[in-house]
């Protein structure tokens, strides 16, 4: 309480409000004094604690269990789902190859998309009007044209320019490459997806930068930290907290979004199951195969996102919430400790000692 000494001199005009507000906090703590005698308080502290009961949670759990059982029953017992065929095709080499392509396109699309998007976001918040304008124009164009149209343009680039030449603009050419050789269909698809993704990623990264308190840049500038490090080491790690959830959204969207490249006749997952079911007629079973694989891929991304978010939450929360695994372990440990305690209590009471004696 030595700090109180300064208060009579202390608050000038600016800080009166702040102090008035903060003063109330400690006084609240003081308003619950230990009015009971110490002995009485000890006695209360020694009493058995019965945790609050939540009967409605048990009711809700039962209802959900019944609904879940009905759903599973409907999935298993109806032969129209054709589970044996699903089993046959789930790990079929052509399907696995298609899954590989879907993963490849997702990684390239999101990876390159976010790298280019970060560059665009940095251009947009830079102090150069030219870089700002270029970034703005890029985002304007690539957010305006539907992805499917862009993909078709890239796919047909060879028709527009059948050779790409490297040389001095409007001057001599050093060498040229056929467009089809330089940009095969897979590359065209990855390019289209990532260029489109970059426009959206740029806005996501920019919104992350905007979410960081302006005082952070000011403190970094006051410490003389070079501009690039201000952005990469001070602002970006903090911005990641708001970037990651939206980026996770985009990545999961991209897993499924890669299915639009079927218009380029690329054998990714969705295209491949169509090829198979037009051949054997097992439409539902093969759609289920695709569904299961999309579920697996997005589940992996969900888990990855959870841990990435946790990583960037360092320092943002006083204590990090437990991971699901840690929660399971803690519940088990608590249950064990609880039963041990109850057993100990029973044993203490059973010899017939009355509760008041201590």
């Amino acid at each position: 309480m030595t700090g109180i000494v300064f208060v009579p001199y202390g608050p000038g005009h600016e800080s009166v409000g702040v102090r008035a507000a903060t003063m109330s906090a400690p006084s609240k703590e003081r308003s619950e004094p230990l009015s009971t005698e110490d002995a009485a308080a000890d006695e209360i502290g020694a009493l058995r604690v019965v945790p609050a009961r939540h009967p409605w949670r048990w009711v809700a759990t039962a209802v959900i269990a019944v609904l879940l059982a009905m759903a599973i029953n409907a999935l298993i017992t109806n032969p129209a789902w054709d589970w044996p065929t699903v089993g046959d095709y789930l790990f079929n080499p052509s399907i696995l190859e298609a899954v590989r392509l879907t993963v490849l396109l997702t990684v390239l699309g999101v990876g390159l998309g976010f790298v280019l998007g970060t560059v665009l976001a940095l251009m947009r918040i830079s102090r150069s009007p030219l870089l700002q304008a270029v970034s703005w124009a890029y985002i304007w164009v690539f957010r305006s044209v539907p992805l499917i149209l862009q993909l078709l343009f890239w796919y047909n680039l060879a028709i527009l320019y059948n050779e790409i030449r490297f040389g001095i603009p409007f001057g001599p050419t050093f060498f040229g490459i056929g467009t089809m050789e330089l940009i095969p269909p897979v590359a065209a698809a990855a390019l289209g997806l990532s260029l489109h993704q970059a426009a959206y990623s740029a806005e996501i990264v920019r919104s992350g930068f905007l979410s960081v308190d302006a005082g952070q840049l000011e403190a970094a500038a006051a410490l003389g930290i070079p501009r690039a490090k201000q952005v990469w080491r001070i602002i970006l790690p903090q911005a990641m907290r708001s970037i990651v959830p939206t980026a996770g959204n985009e990545a999961i969207g991209m897993v499924k979004g890669t299915s639009v490249v079927y218009i380029m006749a690329l054998p990714e997952l969705f295209y491949q199951v169509q090829v198979v079911y037009t051949r054997n007629g097992r439409v539902i079973a093969l759609l289920l195969v695709a569904t299961i694989w999309y579920l697996v891929l997005t589940t992996v991304l969900n888990i990855a996102q959870y841990y990435v978010e946790r990583y960037y939450a360092r320092g943002a929360a006083r204590a990090l919430p437990l991971t699901p695994l840690q929660r399971v372990r803690r519940t088990v440990a608590e249950f064990r400790a609880g039963s041990a305690r109850r057993r100990a209590q029973r044993e203490a009471l059973s010899p017939g000692l009355s509760g008041g004696e201590r």
Binding site: G3, Y9, A219, I225
Partner: protein, 256 residues
């Protein structure tokens, strides 16, 4: 006052935000090792003056020099050339700044907060900076909090880390912008104690504050600012007990 003694010189500084004139011709001279406290009502331009000393604010007219070097400009003959950002950043490494709202980096621990600027701005090896950072945390009484993140610390502890962070660059001058105004009353003293220790060790300090008791005890010179001007200045014994100017009297009557 000889020229070598002068650590900070502020001459005829003017600054406006649009039509609003915040600083209207401020002159100030702070000697090496001196502690100057700037008092004044809110909106009098105290913080703007402090921020212009390390070029966080660009002044419209007049100049600021620290340790004999112009801040933000280079003089060539009769012209002033604006410095590039990189050079301004380098100048700032000689000037510590402590913010009202601490502005610690929340994703770094207390130790990393203190150690980051010497590594990033002065390119000193991390190996030599870490022991220095630890000893600075010890100096502000937080040796045991080295691995805590700012949000796990109280306001007073955060501000002490921020002071250690400013000192890590071994600055010639430390500026304090209302360092205790965001703190709970019972936390004010732990920060003021650290600042008193600094003042005794001969650090040149300019402190914008409302802590009249601190000014009385520690300051060599107290400045009173109102309406973008320095109304009067003098040793605390004079200015705080027998102010000459009506506005100073009115202000002190309100806060004492």
């Amino acid at each position: 006052m000889t020229d070598e003694d002068v650590m900070v010189r502020v001459r005829g500084v003017h600054k406006s935000y649009g039509a609003h004139a915040v600083l209207q011709g401020v002159d100030l001279e702070v000697r090496s090792g001196e502690v100057a406290v700037i008092l004044g009502p809110s909106g009098s331009g105290k913080s703007t003056l402090l921020r212009s000393i390390n070029h966080l604010e660009k002044v419209d007219r007049g100049y600021v020099s620290v340790g004999g070097a112009l801040v933000g400009y280079r003089r060539v003959g009769n012209t002033l050339h604006e410095l590039k950002e990189r050079e301004i950043l380098k100048q700032r490494t000689h000037i510590g700044f402590v913010f009202q709202s601490f502005n610690l980096f929340p994703h770094l621990t207390a130790l990393e907060n203190v150690a980051y600027a010497p590594v990033a701005a002065q390119r000193r090896p991390r190996k030599t900076v870490l022991p220095l950072a630890r000893s600075l945390l010890d100096r502000v009484g937080l040796a045991d909090k080295a691995d805590a993140y700012p949000r796990q610390l109280s306001g007073g502890q955060q501000q002490r880390v921020a002071i250690a962070r400013a000192l890590a660059l071994e600055p010639r001058l430390v500026l304090f912008d209302e360092p205790t105004s965001a703190l709970d009353p019972e936390l004010v003293n732990e920060v003021l104690d650290v600042m008193k220790g600094l003042a005794r060790s001969g650090t040149t300090m300019i402190v914008v504050s409302h802590e009249i008791g601190f000014a009385r005890e520690v300051a060599d010179t107290v400045y009173f600012m109102d309406d973008g001007r320095i109304v009067e200045h003098g040793p605390p014994a004079e200015l705080l007990t027998a102010p000459k100017h009506e506005r100073t009297k009115a202000f002190l009557a309100k806060v004492l």
